[in-house]
């Protein structure tokens, strides 16, 4: 049941990505190209998503535990360190080069386009590179 729930959750998220235009690198890159062929659509994606999560999370956190057991696993860290700022800066550079981010590329894999598969293989290579650069302590695994 938990796995069916996870599958449907992924489908809802992925459908949102597909409808929103997030999985189209041409549109993503135009969002950042304010000095050129600017397309501000993606600000509306973030707006729509935040409206739902802002209120939806508050609704979810009224429960003492998630529906399928365990606990709510959210980071309470407030550390602003070089890893956070440098890593985020790097992520933006990569996003600006390729036009895909991970949350858009995973659903985009379903279009069967080879460029998406190539991107995701490169992302996973980046995960391995990260472990070479700075070894992971269990408490700080990525979200």
């Amino acid at each position: 049941m938990k796995l069916v729930f996870a599958l449907i959750t992924g489908l809802v998220f992925g459908t949102g990505i597909a409808v929103s235009g997030m999985m189209d690198p041409a549109k993503v890159l135009n969002f950042f190209d304010i000095a050129g062929t600017w397309d501000p659509s993606l600000a509306f994606v973030m707006g729509g998503a935040l409206v739902v999560t802002f209120f939806g999370y508050r609704f979810a956190f009224k429960r003492s535990a998630p529906l399928f057991g365990g606990r709510f696993q959210v980071s309470s860290s407030t550390d602003i360190d070089l890893k956070l700022v440098g890593g985020s800066a790097l992520f933006g550079i990569g996003w600006g080069i390729a036009g895909f981010c991970p949350g858009a590329a995973i659903p985009a894999l379903g279009t069967g386009r080879w460029e998406v598969a190539l991107f995701l293989v490169a992302v996973v290579a980046g995960f391995f590179l990260r472990r070479l650069v700075a070894p992971i302590r269990p408490a700080q695994a990525a979200r």
């Binding site: 062929t37 501000p40 935040l50 933006g92 600006g96 695994a141």
Partner: protein, 143 residues
């Protein structure tokens, strides 16, 4: 290339993205961060942990197929980037997002709605570096 401004479908897609994020928190107590979900499926902790990640990923990948069944065509996906740049961008995305503990979905959607201080730093950082990268590629080096 020009892309069409789509405020309504983008906002609607954003609502579904937010709903997916809320469902994952409500059901499994997890943040819907694509980087963390993917990296947890690569560096496996346990069979139970892997199973919900794979179910979620399969659901995401099925989304374009669902769109195809409903409207008769795949979502728009134009890749105005060379394969070499897709790989370069992908590796930097994987490295940066894992170092910075999150990407557009983890820090952007889930982190901002929780008013996480780390996300409030991460999101403007990667938005800025993405915009600078696109500006340099398209308007300085002449893409």
């Amino acid at each position: 290339m020009e892309t069409t401004f789509t405020p309504f479908t983008s906002f609607g897609g954003g609502l579904a993205i937010g709903l997916g994020a809320v469902l994952l928190m409500l059901g499994l107590g997890r943040v819907f961060g694509a980087t963390g979900i993917l990296s947890g499926a690569v560096f496996v902790e346990s069979r139970d942990d892997l199973s919900w990640r794979l179910a979620l990923i399969v659901g995401m990948v099925l989304a374009p197929g669902l769109i195809f069944v409903i409207i008769g065509s795949m979502p728009e996906l134009n890749v105005p980037i060379s394969p070499v740049m897709i790989v370069v961008g992908g590796v930097i995305v994987g490295l940066g997002a894992s170092l910075g503990s999150g990407c557009t979905s983890g820090h952007g959607v889930c982190g901002l709605s929780r008013l996480s201080v780390r996300s409030l730093v991460a999101v403007p950082t990667f938005m800025a570096t993405a915009a600078i990268t696109v500006f340099l590629i398209r308007h300085v080096f002449g893409g």
